[in-house]
Symmetry: C2
Subunit: 509 residues, 2 copies
């Protein structure tokens, strides 16, 4: 949700942050050798290719949008049906105080269990901004990649999720029993910040099933143009919020916008906001000055520093600066130190300022209200709850108890151990496919994974998948189904990536 703003999705971010660093494995794709292990499944996947593409297109045609309360019940049913059709033994709707989740299991009599995290909702869209209708899921050319489905949800996350389902269909058609048991948990509120997903995960049957799992992943298709992927050992948390100064709450200044000449006798909510903001960070704007902010911040471990040093060594600083339009890092830090700062430091970021007249030129008003949109990135062991409480206490202590704090979304940070089976299985799968995988100690972005990684579930969690797509939350979102780039997987190779991952989970020590 928070991580995929328009035009700047997870993958773009990773491309920029990691450039084309190859930290663990270097090589050319080895689709052939990887898939040679499962010839019957590969054959079935190829035979079912059109059906797999159509499954994605049909799903895209049925959008569920939590923010608009659109097709939520229908979306959960659709998800449950997709799970049943893919061979899950049972698929049930899990009600929450918000929109329902879906829970499904597939007992294959295996020793180990793998959990999958799906979302059935998609981001809002404005068809006027798209070059083809966002629910039609047309297949178009994407130069440098091949042919791709364009539609809302194509990459975030119906395409990758349906590719996992296609792997299950192919294995069943090939009469190959999965080497792992599966637990599927899906939510319909990812795009509004997963406010009730913890209720799904902690409902007794789901909780009991998850507790048996080695780990959980959300299917993803993050291969860049060179075929590389990142494996993140955790992610920062985030709190998105608005700070609002207003005449209404302050008891000073106007309730609405008035003529600016009155400033000589009337107080100003935007100046109030500027004063409040000014207390939140050090004078350079780079470090939180909120009381107690660093109390629970865990410093980087030696291993984390080692991984970052490796990313820095393999990274392309000049390219990253160019992609970001940045000429120097904070404090003119050298690249390795800047990357350490990226992984280790919580942030207080202004994502937007809005007050009074915002159009071209000027308009002489004294605004009745001023809003700063902030996002606070959190690192272990900070929590979202702690951050909101400390910010409120700070504002109150500084005398800004009239400044409203409206939280609009957020997640706790996540951590997944490098030696967990799911990470080792991911790395082994990528390696066998000849894909360069970069081990990243902490994604500077955020995702709802803390629902799994934090107590009481305490499960290793991450993203996994071959393939490529982009444009999450933006117009012309796409997911590559037919790859013309030898380093990037098309849909059948992505299917085979999931198949191999099931085996790696079963086999890894």
């Amino acid at each position: 949700m928070a991580e995929s703003p328009h035009g700047l999705d997870r993958r773009d971010f990773l491309t920029a942050a990691l450039a084309s660093a190859g930290a663990l494995a270097i090589g050319t794709p080895a689709w052939a050798s990887a898939t040679a292990r499962y010839p019957a499944v590969r054959k079935a996947a190829e035979a079912q290719r059109e059906a797999a593409i159509k499954r994605i297109q049909d799903w895209i045609a049925h959008p569920s949008i939590a923010a608009e309360n659109l097709n939520m019940k229908e979306g959960a049913e659709y998800m449950a049906t997709l799970a049943r059709e893919a061979g899950f033994d049972s698929a049930t709707i899990i009600p929450t105080d918000g929109h329902p989740g879906v829970f499904a299991t597939m007992d294959n009599g295996a020793k180990r269990t793998l959990a999958l995290y799906f979302m059935y909702d998609v981001k809002q869209f404005d068809p006027a901004e798209w070059s083809s209708p966002p629910l039609e899921a047309r297949i178009v050319d994407k130069p440098g990649f091949g042919r791709a489905i364009v539609g809302r949800g194509a990459v975030n996350q119906k395409g990758p999720e349906a590719t996992v389902l296609a792997a299950l269909h192919a294995m069943r058609a090939a009469k190959v029993k999965l080497p792992v048991n599966l637990v599927l948990v899906a939510e319909g509120e990812e795009e509004i910040g997963s406010p009730h997903f913890h209720q799904v995960v902690q409902s007794p049957n789901v909780f009991a099933a998850l507790k048996k799992a080695e780990g959980v992943f959300i299917p993803a298709s993050w291969q860049d143009m060179n075929g590389s992927v990142a494996v993140n050992l955790g992610s920062k948390g985030v709190v998105e919020l608005e700070l609002i100064a207003s005449g209404e709450k302050w008891g000073r200044g106007p309730k609405g916008d008035i003529h600016s000449s009155m400033k000589a006798m009337v107080d100003s909510p935007p100046w109030r906001l500027v004063q409040a903001l000014n207390t939140l960070v050090t004078p350079d704007g780079n470090t939180a000055a909120i009381e107690g902010w660093f109390e629970n911040v865990r410093p980087l471990t030696a291993r984390e520093k080692e991984l970052i040093a490796e990313i820095a060594r393999n990274g392309d600083e000049a390219t990253q600066k160019k992609l970001l339009g940045v000429s120097r890092w904070i404090d003119d830090l050298p690249y390795p130190k800047a990357l350490e700062r990226l992984a280790s430091q919580p942030t207080v970021n202004i994502e937007g300022l809005v007050s009074g007249y915002t159009g071209p030129g000027g308009k002489t008003v004294l605004p009745g209200r001023a809003v700063a949109k902030l996002d606070l990135r959190l690192v272990p062991n900070q929590t979202r709850k702690e951050a909101v409480e400390k910010l409120r206490a700070h504002l109150d202590k500084k005398g800004f108890n009239d400044v409203e704090l409206k939280v609009t979304g957020g997640y706790d940070p996540t951590e997944t151990a490098e030696d967990s089976r799911i990470i080792r299985a991911e790395l082994a799968t990528y390696k066998r496919a000849g894909v360069t995988a970069t081990l990243n100690p902490r994604l500077a972005g955020s995702w709802p994974g803390a629902v799994f990684t934090a107590p009481p579930v305490s499960l290793p969690a991450g993203h996994f998948g071959l393939g490529h797509g982009s444009g999450a939350h933006a117009p012309d979102e796409y997911y590559v189904v037919e790859s013309t780039n030898p380093k990037v997987a098309g849909i059948v190779d992505a299917v085979m990536g999931y198949v191999d991952m099931f085996y790696q989970i079963a086999e890894v020590k």
Copy 2:
């Protein structure tokens, strides 16, 4: 220009600022006695009423908009033709480095000369926002006032200006020679801040003609629902500007918006802006903290304080607070002190803040640019030039030389002596018409009058007129032509107001 933002025009401001205070004269309208003095002119004005209304409508149908470079040459020619038709001896186009002005004279062999300031341009408009087409100038009912022309320029300023022209037509039809000579100077750039009007005023012939005048006024129709008007002895100046912090100019932070997770290693232009803003005012946001700001500020005189005290005594503080949506003044000042602050203090006002994502909810970006729109109100003897220079020097000294300062418009403050003939003539005219006139030492708003009041022209200048209109710069701008409110002049009574003003200028001691 700056003084008539959408929905908050000069009159609304005055209504709010002065409430219904009646400081100099109290009484009921005396149209009858006022116009009984000029029976032949009144008869002619009544006979020409439809023609006078049509003159306004025709003018509205031909908009000149400087910001859009629309019909500027045509507008100047139209203005010159209107002047000639109204009996001016000559009307010539005065070229400038921008759009042309118009200069006309009418030598009536009188002892005294009166100057008129007209603008032929109008504010931009969006027909979609209007309830009738803005160039059709339809006549509609305005409850509480009567029938009014609705159109762009109706009140700002074609309606009032054409009413002066109607007075000249009526006097000519009645074969009554004007008791004063007239000088007319018009500009076409009022709505963009009069950037070249000084070139019109200081061109040799215009300058020589103005130097003979007793004073200058722009026709206005500011009667409120009770018939009251304000007579301002000056106005504050204003500088409208944008302060812009950007990665582009700073050399830190991103050039465009990037993913907000990068905040941990990339500097932030919006935080840079907040820091710069924070240095501009005292912690309460109410007093400029810019070095040398008060150096040339002239304190209120005893007479100015006396007039303000009178306004405070007659004013309705509770109503004004209610109209403004304000529950207390700055520093909890009592009303008379708050009004002194209004008249005497320069201001640094934030009229708008814009950065990054400004829509509903959040979007995780680190913006490449942040803009604060400010207006600085100036009092005598501050100047616009001084203010801009001091603000720039202040920012540089504080280390913010990368923060851009983009001036978008402004005027110097104006002052007009209470004992000038034009002010005394205005007061006498209002008194004879039975209209409550409030003498206001200084309008807290601003207008281009400094072009006249400052050297080298050094002419008393103000606003004068009976009648009512509103909605300058807003949709459904209107000008009352047929009044059903006994305290407010319709077009014929407004015509007679100008006629009487000509005599008052001639006769006042």
